[in-house]
């Protein structure tokens, strides 16, 4: 866990939000992540790319300790949020997950009304003191996620009745509603059609700067479009991490080049 493994973050990247140092993840005997160190900053969208099974999702889920839900998963190394070690015993997972929100590959709205979907987080965390306040949170979250216009008249409809793209935006709104600092997205567009994908990408652009955003994608073009920093994973190791445009035009590693030019994956 020496600083030497820390990736270089160039000036102008904005304040550091999360850091990871020498993170290893094991599923039982099997090592899925091997000594990964990455910094997540406030102003940039960070993209994780790499072939299937290389550990992108695994690593992403370390950042809000969602891996805790897999009994055989074991995480070592240091991960901090605003300097606090999130794997420290005194860290409260419930709070952590409220601060580091997550959006999943397949839209997963709860089978409740749109309103209740958004209100779920604020309610369990007690973020609203009154009905009005709650209404307010729901409205602003939906607005941020660019969904308000489409659903304001049918807040009581089931969240599952929306189209795929709308559902995914609902999930983003739901994550926003608990006022997180970081938003993690695991292939948020892979289940969506091109038009819905474009909407989400636009949304990411808008959210950038307000939240630290990390996105996993298997679509390199998407990474190039939405992110400013890209990390390329291969077989559980971080092969290359840097400014997105550099990675795509001038990768330093042979493997990265092979991947980007489609020699495998």
């Amino acid at each position: 866990m020496t600083e030497t493994t820390a990736p270089a973050i160039s000036a102008g990247d904005g304040p550091l939000k999360m850091t990871t140092r020498n993170v290893d993840v094991f599923y039982g005997e099997k090592q899925a992540i091997n000594g990964v160190s990455i910094d997540v900053t406030m102003d940039n969208v960070t993209a994780f790319i790499g072939p299937s099974g290389c550990g992108k999702s695994t690593f992403l889920r370390c950042l809000n300790r969602m891996n805790d839900t897999i009994p055989i998963a074991k995480v070592t190394g240091e991960i901090t949020l605003e300097g606090e070690d999130i794997y420290a015993p005194k860290m409260d997972v419930v709070q952590l997950r409220a601060r580091v929100g997550m959006v999943f590959q397949k839209p997963n709205p709860f089978p409740k009304s749109i309103y209740d979907n958004i209100a779920y987080g604020p309610r369990i965390h007690g973020l609203a003191n009154s009905k009005d306040e709650l209404d307010n949170i729901v409205e602003t979250s939906l607005q941020r996620a660019g969904l308000w216009g489409e659903v304001q008249d049918r807040l009581q409809d089931s969240g599952t009745a929306l189209s795929g793209g709308q559902q995914q935006r609902l999930c983003i709104a739901r994550a926003i509603a608990v006022d997180p600092e970081v938003i993690l997205m695991d292939e948020p567009c892979s289940a969506l059609d091109p038009i819905a994908t474009a909407k989400i990408e636009e949304l990411i652009h808008e959210l950038r700067g307000k939240y630290a955003i990390v996105i996993v994608t298997h679509n390199m073009q998407q990474a190039a479009r939405v992110s400013q920093r890209t990390a390329f994973f291969h077989l559980g190791t971080l092969v290359e991490y840097g400014v997105t445009s550099d990675i795509f035009t001038n990768p330093t590693e042979e493997k990265t080049r092979d991947y980007i030019t489609g020699r495998y994956g």
Binding site: N64, M66, T69, P71, V93, V94, Q95, L96, R97, A98, R99, G101, M102, F104, K106, N108, P109, F110, P111, K112, Y120, G121, I124, H125, C171, R174, A175, V178
Partner: protein, 460 residues
């Protein structure tokens, strides 16, 4: 030649014809050159011939076996020895049967001396008809075998034919279930119809007094009011048993699926399943011998008077225990069927596990759980032995769990094995009760399955 030797012979001949069919088919072109020219493998040609050889012969033997005993008896009766036989049909039949079994070496000593005289005629007749049958069967084997063997040619779609026969066999097997269902319905409906011709269905279904009498009372009351039985059934099976089974089953399922370490789950799940594997007669004995007295003592000690040792509570509680694994496995399935994305979604919002379970998983799994509970209820109200042994016979309409009530199944057993007059509406009432039970459990199941299915589809 006895039946089994003949059967064996036919099977062997079948094997031989299989072989010949194969040999002939092998002489068609084989190997990769055969492709396109020969439709089926030699094996299938073999089977084709074998089926032709064996099938008709066995069918004939089956019919012959049903028909020939009568022929044999006729022949035996034609003999002079038959003249001394008694006229009483039963005694006569019995002597003949005895003679027959001696003649066919199934019995050594005759109980009735007359039988001995009939043995010889029987022996003659039996061997005559057996030989006749055997010759006919063997002829059929050869005819079938030869016919099909001659038909073998490269283009013959032997495989397709064999496949069609196989499929018919499969279809027939699955028809048995339908036939059984029809059988159940028919056997219940006929007797019930007779019952309802004596007792009005209205009185039966809505009467509140169960006190079956052979003769109708002065005001035409028959005592066949089944409401107390329905109430007892519902009270024990759907209320008390479920009060025990639902919380325990549901919470067990939740703990096992959501909290338990893998090891614990691996051990505990089968242990819980054993609860469902214990025979109901054991539960009944346990309820009657251990639980019921304990509950009654308890009731007395807290000052409930009139507590019966054959209490609804004892039967209900034990039944509930029996149903626990049923509820828990249904709940387990339903919770597992909720996509894990749902759970992850909630956890990722910072919800605790119990919040996730209570606010997301259970509501999402609710239709499945409800379906499961309905199935469990239908199982509980159809349960017999526990209530027969522990619930008592008093047709009370009471909500006091410490008193004795009776159920539909208990009464069916009582009515069919009690000391009542035969052919009275009392016997028939058992079938009417069975019909009601059948219909109710059927409806419950249909509803439950529909609910569960609909809900599964919602996630697929």
């Amino acid at each position: 030649m006895t039946g089994s030797i003949l059967f064996l012979l036919i099977i062997i001949l079948g094997g031989i014809s299989w072989f010949f069919g194969r040999v002939k088919a092998r002489r068609f072109v084989t190997g990769s050159a055969a492709r396109g020219a020969v439709h089926s493998l030699p094996n299938y040609h073999g089977w084709y011939v074998a089926l032709w050889a064996v099938g008709p012969a066995l069918l004939f033997l089956m019919i012959w076996n049903i028909a020939s005993p009568a022929l044999v008896t006729d022949a035996a009766l034609a003999s002079p020895a038959a003249e001394q036989l008694p006229q009483d049909p039963f005694a006569r039949g019995s002597i003949l049967a005895e003679a027959r079994s001696i003649a066919s070496d199934q019995q050594v000593k005759a109980f009735n001396p007359l039988s001995q005289t009939m043995v010889e005629p029987y022996k003659t007749a039996i061997s005559y008809y057996q030989t006749l049958g055997a010759i006919a069967a063997l002829l059929l084997v050869f005819a079938g075998g030869a016919y099909s063997w001659l038909r073998l040619k490269p283009e013959l779609r032997a495989r397709t034919k064999i496949e069609r026969i196989t499929m018919m066999a499969l279809l027939l097997a699955s028809l048995i279930a339908t036939i059984t269902t029809i059988g159940i319905f028919a056997s219940l409906i006929f007797e019930s119809a007779r019952f309802f011709s004596m007792v009005s269905p209205i009185d039966f279904l809505f009467g509140t007094e169960w006190n079956p009498k052979a003769v109708a009372g002065p005001r035409g009351e028959t005592g066949f009011g089944a409401i107390p039985l329905f109430w007892g059934t519902v009270f024990i099976g759907a209320i008390i048993a479920m009060i025990v089974a639902i919380p325990l089953g549901l919470m067990s399922a939740i703990y096992l699926t959501q909290y338990a370490p893998l090891n614990f789950r691996a051990w505990m799940k089968p242990i819980l399943e054993v609860l469902a594997g214990v025979p109901t007669v054991v539960y009944g004995y346990f309820a009657a011998l251990t639980v019921a007295p304990a509950l009654r003592d308890f009731a007395v000690s807290i000052g409930i008077s009139g507590a019966s040792s054959e209490s609804a509570l004892a039967a209900g509680v034990v039944m509930g225990i029996m149903i626990i694994p049923f509820v828990s496995s249904m709940a387990d399935d339903s919770i597992a069927a909720v996509p894990s994305a749902m759970r992850d979604g909630s956890l990722a919002m910072g919800a605790t596990k119990s919040e996730t379970i209570k606010k997301v998983l259970i509501p999402a799994a609710l239709p499945g759980v409800v379906g499961g509970v309905l199935l469990a209820v239908s199982r509980a109200i159809g349960e017999t032995m526990i209530v027969v042994m522990a619930a008592g016979l008093a047709a009370n309409m009471t909500a006091n769990p410490f008193s004795s009530v009776t159920t539909v199944t208990t009464q069916i057993v009582q009515l069919l094995t009690g000391d009542q007059e035969f052919d009275s509406p009392k016997t028939l009432a058992a079938f009417a009760l069975g019909l009601v039970l059948f219909i109710v459990t059927l409806l419950l199941n249909l509803i439950a399955l529909r609910v569960v299915k609909k809900y599964r589809e919602a996630y697929e």
